[in-house]
């Protein structure tokens, strides 16, 4: 079988299986095999990626259940890395880690399914040309659009490595997903493009001045913002609300396209995302949220190595939309499951483990993943971005474990969820002490340019009160809150108001599920002004008990009572509260 005669390519491209151990496969007699190439294995032609080569012996990771694969089975070279079909028809649909549509897949996912691509998908798309024949175009330039392919404009751009004169372009009309729609510099351009899932798509330049991604979650937007094209991670033990927070961000953030990757997580959660997003209306487009969303679902009981790939599938899809000029967000829940897949495979190969059994390249793999986030000038000249938000699920809630500590080094914002806050049903349970936002200064400059010069000062004051209130809370636990001096009791009150009136947010409330920048700033201003008025009252001799007896209900309920855009109503509450506090004697 290891003959290399050019006359018998079919034979020369196949090796023979010699080892099968779950997803770890080894074949011998595979000539000229390349790292990263896909081989088809066994009678079901399962996809397996080459991860090590020794002579003509190839070690592979299989992306499917390998039950029934035998020693002696053929392993046929494809010469290609694993690629997906990038084109219209992604938005509003769900795919597995190998980018095969789940929407039309059978009820029970066994390996004998169609391979990558959407063969048999007969959907016709309307192509509208945007340039005339004879136009000179470069990489990434727009050739045409496909109306009706989701909530954002689907643009067909000149593929990477292609440029020149448009020799021919299709007239407006209906075409298949893989139809040829133009000829540029003598090369065919298709409506959909095959692109290797793991390969980053190139761009012209990175942009460095940050602009915020508005998430609609106050604790993030006011205290720990993430920039468009930034990378953020949310971490916390089970039950602290990671998935809930990510779903809220996916629903309400102001990106054009959301890629939601369920990586080794619960099937019921994916069902929930699909149902919820199909029902919810996107305030920005008026369409359904699902129409700006691509779901990549590789649940915890689906094949492990496809889970490893699903992260790259998600980020590849986001880059595809970035190159059309859109702002995309990748939500990866959870990167810990991805790291575990790496570990599982490394262990089967017998690699020497580093920390907690994880392979030594974990840090570089994680860094490379988060570095694919970025706000860039695309090849076509657009300002566009990919923001990456990953969940980390630390075993035992232990934040010193390898995935958490490595992630902390490479992300721009870290949102740490706290079990005590979650137990007290304070959601989102993002804790101010364990979280950070490295781009806060740059984003403060952006806010200043946009007309909110107070943003940074407001944030600093809020963080200061929260830290001080935490310190006093531990003291109050020992001596009782009533033994504290008046000023300190006002700090404790301020901490409570900040937590309950500003940071906690009710995902189920129509008014409070999302929050505009203006309303968030007004709420924070309200609480800071109330706290200041309380201190003023103490200074003029009012007792702490008298102040604590004031009904702060209107402040605490303001977020839920007032519509998501209604900053004026909050100003009215503020005026009434300040009058009440000012009248105390």
């Amino acid at each position: 079988m290891d003959g290399v005669s050019a006359a018998a390519p079919a034979v020369s491209r196949a090796g023979r299986m010699v080892r099968v151990s779950g997803p770890l496969l080894e074949a011998e007699g595979v000539p000229d095999v390349r790292m990263g190439e896909i081989l088809r294995v066994g009678s079901d032609a399962l996809s397996a990626e080459v991860v090590a080569v020794e002579g003509t012996r190839a070690t592979m990771q299989a992306y499917e259940y390998t039950g029934g694969v035998r020693v002696g089975d053929p392993a046929v070279r494809t010469g290609e890395p694993l690629s997906g079909l990038f084109g219209p028809g992604l938005l509003g649909r769900a795919f597995d880690g190998l980018m095969r549509p789940l929407t039309d897949a059978p009820l029970w996912l066994s390996p004998a399914r169609a391979e990558t691509g959407r063969d048999g998908d007969a959907t016709r798309w309307r192509f509208v040309p945007a340039v005339a024949p004879g136009t000179e175009v470069g990489e990434g330039a727009m050739l045409g659009t496909v109306p009706g392919a989701g909530a954002v404009e689907h643009r067909v751009v000149v593929p990477v490595g292609v440029s020149g004169v448009v020799g021919w372009i299709a007239d407006e009309g209906e075409v298949d997903a893989e139809a040829r729609v133009a000829e540029v510099g003598g090369r065919a351009v298709h409506l959909s493009e095959r692109w290797p899932m793991r390969r980053p798509r190139p761009f012209a330049a990175r942009l460095s001045d940050p602009a915020p991604l508005h998430t609609g979650q106050r604790v993030l937007d006011l205290l720990f913002p993430v920039a468009r094209g930034g990378a953020a991670a949310v971490t916390g033990g089970f039950g602290t609300g990671k998935t809930m927070l990510l779903q809220q961000v996916a629903k309400w953030c102001d990106a054009d396209v959301i890629v939601y990757v369920g990586c080794g997580e619960r099937g019921n959660e994916m069902a929930d995302v699909l149902e919820d997003f199909a029902r919810l209306v996107d305030a920005r487009t008026g369409g359904r949220l699902i129409d700006r969303t691509v779901v990549v679902a590789n649940t915890s009981n689906m094949p492990m190595m496809a889970r490893e790939l699903s992260i790259y599938t998600g980020i590849g899809i986001a880059e595809f939309y970035r190159d059309m000029g859109h702002d995309a967000v990748v939500i990866a829940d959870s990167t810990s499951r991805w790291a575990e897949a790496l570990r599982e495979f490394a262990n089967r190969r017998g690699d020497l483990p580093a920390e907690e059994g994880f392979p030594a390249n974990l840090a570089s793999e994680l860094a490379a993943f988060y570095e694919r986030a970025g706000r860039v000038t695309t090849l076509g000249g657009h300002d566009a971005s990919v923001t990456v938000i990953g969940a980390v699920s630390p075993p035992g809630g232990d934040l010193s474990e390898p995935v958490t500590t490595i992630t902390q080094r490479f992300v721009r914002a870290m949102w740490t969820l706290d079990r005590d806050l979650a137990y007290a049903r304070h959601y989102p349970a993002v804790h101010w002490a364990g979280s950070f936002a490295r781009d806060a200064d740059g984003l403060a400059r952006w806010q200043t340019v946009q007309g909110d010069a107070e943003w940074a000062a407001r944030r600093a004051t809020a963080l200061e009160i929260l830290a001080e209130a935490d310190r006093l809370a531990s003291l109050a636990e020992v001596i009782g809150v009533n033994s504290l001096p008046g000023r300190e009791r006002m700090v404790a009150l301020g901490g409570r108001l900040l937590r309950e009136a500003v940071l906690a947010q009710n995902a189920l409330s129509p008014n409070d599920a999302t929050c505009s920048d203006a309303k968030g700033a007004a709420l924070l201003d309200l609480v800071l002004a109330v706290v200041e008025a309380c201190h003023a009252a103490i200074d003029r001799g009012v007792t702490a008990t008298a102040i604590e007896r004031v009904d702060f209900g209107p402040v605490i309920r303001a977020a839920q009572d007032v519509g998501p855009e209604d900053a004026d109503a909050i100003a009215a509450i503020r005026a009434r509260m300040l009058a009440t506090l000012g009248a105390l004697t």
Binding site: S21, Y65, G68, R70, G72, S110, G239, G264, R266, P395
Partner: protein, 479 residues
């Protein structure tokens, strides 16, 4: 596993089976639960294996194929096996189980062999015991409650059809009593409610208790028992929950029943997985457990759910004991990451004589907001549950303060919270282990407990609900 499910090429062909049924006698090594067979050809990974010995057959699975060597995991263990005295036959396909309604009313051992004196169970269909992943797109999000008749669960951590909700316990607490009570009395609004109970490594005394308590439901043909005792082969525990789930999936998605699967104790399962991993000399992740324990547990727990357009559901309630009560131990920790909440039992509450000793604040049903409330249970359910929990959180602070300064030094409000906590434990949480409460009874009890608090403390229920539900004797209390 219907007409839509493609069967793997060749697995059903008798010719392949016959050809594969060659007896292999070349045993190269025996190590822990593993058997290394040489001279193997044409055997697929994950194939079922029969090991014939003079004392009867044992069963196994192919874990690893390396050239002509197959490593086989033997469910009954390798105790007493001698190279040269065994015949190994490969079945040509993964392990299958005949499924059907014939399982109902039966009591079997951990391998599915009858313990009740009846004939072996047969069925019209044969299904792979490892199951296939359910396409997430075809999942129907869980929406309707399972009423367990246990107030602590029904009121505060409602179990939802298609959910996986574990019981986290500590050795010595009555988790088996609770699990058995749930198995004995749970119902749902669906037409058929069925229970599959899998015991993993339980003592004979515990097994006798389970059989006795579940006898009624067994006799009416609503329940299947799979019993692996503490002195049964440990590796068999890897198989038992898969048999239970395979039977449950058939009853649910082919027969349209709402099936509750109760598995106790998953810690014993995880130890069996660790034993196999150690015998394979795999690199351990935490506390000697293999790195794939998460995926392995998920391959069980994720078999719960509902299917779009079909009646029936699989709900899973696994029970596990946390070694030394440590919730960060890999088994409860990984379970918590997979399941949709947890019911935690607490030694402190047990010590106060409350059964079931549910730690209400540490427990959570993530799907409760989908499965309870208006149109699901009762319109006040979610609000009253939130109020009960918020007040219990306050009561915990009051109790901590009372320990510091003494109960007599507490303010009036804090004292009422202490009385409230007692009322909750006495009137709502505490019940007999054969008492099946209706949901109305449970929720009314919650209101009665709330009545011990000053009215102005009830901020999470609406004035209308208070007027309608709060027992009237306390209405003059305005704090």
């Amino acid at each position: 596993m219907t007409g839509r499910a493609p069967s793997r090429a060749g697995t059903e062909a008798p010719a392949v089976l016959a050809a594969a049924r060659v007896a292999h006698r070349d045993i190269r090594a025996i190590r822990g639960p593993l058997l290394v067979v040489g001279g193997v050809e044409g055997v697929g990974w994950d194939e079922a294996v029969e090991v014939a010995t003079s004392a009867g057959p044992r069963h196994g699975l192919v874990l690893d194929l390396d050239e002509d060597r197959a490593t086989v995991q033997v469910f009954e263990g390798t105790e007493g096996l001698a190279p040269g005295a065994v015949d190994v036959r490969f079945a040509g396909r993964p392990l299958h189980l005949e499924v059907g309604t014939g399982w109902l009313g039966r009591v079997c051992n951990g391998r599915g062999a009858p313990l009740d004196g009846g004939p072996p169970v047969t069925g019209a269909r044969s299904a792979p015991v490892a199951g296939w992943p359910l396409n997430p797109v075809d999942r129907e999000p869980p929406h309707e409650p399972v009423v367990t008749g246990v107030s602590a669960i029904d009121a505060l951590t409602t179990l939802v059809r298609g959910q996986k909700l574990p019981i986290f316990s500590v050795a010595g607490l009555p988790h088996l009593r609770l699990a058995t009570q749930i198995a004995a009395q749970a119902t749902s609004a669906g037409e058929q409610f069925r229970v599959v109970f899998a015991a993993l490594g339980l003592t004979h005394a515990d097994i006798a208790y389970v059989r006795d308590r579940l006898e009624g439901r067994t006799a009416t043909g609503e329940l299947v028992l799979f019993l692996n005792a503490a002195d049964d082969p440990a590796i068999e525990r890897i198989l038992t929950p898969r048999l239970a789930l395979t039977v449950a999936e058939h009853l649910a998605f082919e027969e349209g029943a709402d099936v509750l699967v109760v598995v106790s104790d998953m810690t014993n399962y995880a130890e069996a997985v660790r034993e196999v991993s150690a015998a394979r000399r795999e690199i351990p992740a935490r506390r000697g457990y293999p790195g794939y324990l998460y995926s392995d547990l998920a391959s069980l727990y994720e078999r719960c759910g509902r299917v779009r357009g079909r009646a029936g559901s699989v709900t899973v309630v696994p029970v596990l004991t946390m070694p030394a009560g440590d919730v960060t131990h890999p088994v409860p920790d990984l379970t918590g990451y997979i399941t949709e909440g947890q019911i935690v039992l607490s030694p402190e509450i047990d010590a106060r004589g409350v059964y079931p000793p549910v730690d209400t604040l540490g427990s959570l049903s993530r799907l409760m907001r989908h499965g309870a409330g208006p149109g699901r249970t009762r319109e006040d359910h979610l609000d009253v549950a939130a109020q009960v929990l918020a007040a219990l959180a306050h009561a915990r602070q009051s109790a901590a303060l009372a320990e510091l300064v003494g109960a007599s030094a507490l303010g009036e409000t804090d004292r009422s919270y202490l009385a409230y906590r007692e009322a909750v434990e006495r009137d709502l949480l505490d019940q007999r282990d054969d008492e099946a409460r209706t949901l109305d009874d449970t929720l009314d009890r919650a209101w009665r407990a709330l009545a011990t608090l000053p009215r102005h403390e009830l901020t999470m229920v609406s004035p209308e609900q208070v007027a309608r539900r709060l027992p009237s004797g306390e209405e003059d209390d305005h704090g």
